[in-house]
Symmetry: C2
Subunit: 205 residues, 2 copies
């Protein structure tokens, strides 16, 4: 049995989608971060990072989307969510790492600038660069890292659940997703999956 | 045969260390980023992200430290660099993701602030927060994510090569590593490994 800790409409959506796709035996527990619940002692005991997502497993807690995605995929082999070869696996890992460390970070400078600078002026300056940075990330993915129709080609794998966030970040930053046809088609295909719709409903989307 | 693209004293050090640890059959090719070599067409054909590291394999190019580390570990099973269980593997993945997406990003705001804001004032404001952010990252790792003596416990695994960067980021930001005894001991243990010393020499360190 797994317990998944998420905040609505956060990046936890990625791991949540994969849990639902593989048919995991899990319960989803909301951490209302807008009310500061991620800083309460009860949650810090689960995830000292004060972030979501976190996944409570029988062995302990896993944090970070790339790690949770890989764990969920590895422990549900019947769902065939991991690529087959070490190279293809590395391609999926690389996309997850890019989403985590570059594109999500670029998006986070919109509302989370206080992580990296205290002054209000600096935080405003960061916001001004978010749309162009996200555009550049999307263009890179579109051109080089989205094989189509799914990220790794013909079959949905663990990184598709994460890639679902990219068009959402673009939309929130006012960047037109339609200028990236493969990414746009990926988003449309994701929205046709029952697991996606089920998880979005839980997130109030 | 593998070709590894690196810049001296960059985060590519992490993947470079693991290649050397496992005794991989590779050649190391320097990309002098201080001279802008990462933006030249010949390198963009290898890594469109204009970053290091990149690993040319017989199947194609892999980018991103977490992906390269996992690939190198997976393709050299005799070196036993991957943890044994899915949960322990996830713990290692989570540490790699944290180093990649949080701690390295926190460090990058020191010299790479132009990625996230155009104004010189904003970039200066970012620099002011680097030391405290890196201190917080190190404290989190020290308390929760470094089992000792190696990251995952008794045995060196793929994430130790990456964790080697953490004390280096601290030192560069003027944070005293000695206040984190486990991290300090980890760094000392790394410096006793022949592979570490061999790679540092290539990086001019």
């Amino acid at each position: 049995m797994l317990t998944f800790y998420f905040a609505k409409d956060s990046s936890a959506l990625a791991s949540h989608l994969l849990l639902e796709e593989v048919g995991a035996d899990y319960t989803a527990h909301e951490v209302p971060i807008t009310q500061g619940a991620h800083h309460e002692a009860s949650y810090l005991a689960i995830n000292p990072k004060a972030r979501v997502p976190a996944l409570q497993t029988p062995n302990g807690v896993i944090t970070e989307n790339p790690a949770i995605l890989t764990y969920v995929a590895a422990t549900h082999p019947e769902a065939h969510m991991l690529p087959d070869t070490p190279f293809e696996r590395a391609e999926a890992d690389a996309l997850n790492a890019y989403l985590c460390a570059t594109m999500h970070v670029a998006f986070a400078h919109n509302l989370r600038g206080a992580r990296w600078a205290d002054s209000a002026e600096a935080q405003e300056a960061m916001k001004k660069k978010v749309a162009s940075n996200l555009h550049d990330c999307a263009a890179l993915i579109e051109t080089h890292y989205l094989k189509g129709p799914w990220a790794m080609g013909d079959r949905y794998t663990l990184c598709d659940a994460y890639l679902f966030l990219a068009p959402r970040w673009l939309m929130k930053a006012g960047v037109d997703v339609a200028q990236f046809p493969k990414l746009h088609a990926h988003h449309t295909a994701m929205l046709a999956r029952p697991a996606t719709l089920a998880v979005m409903a839980v997130h109030g989307l």
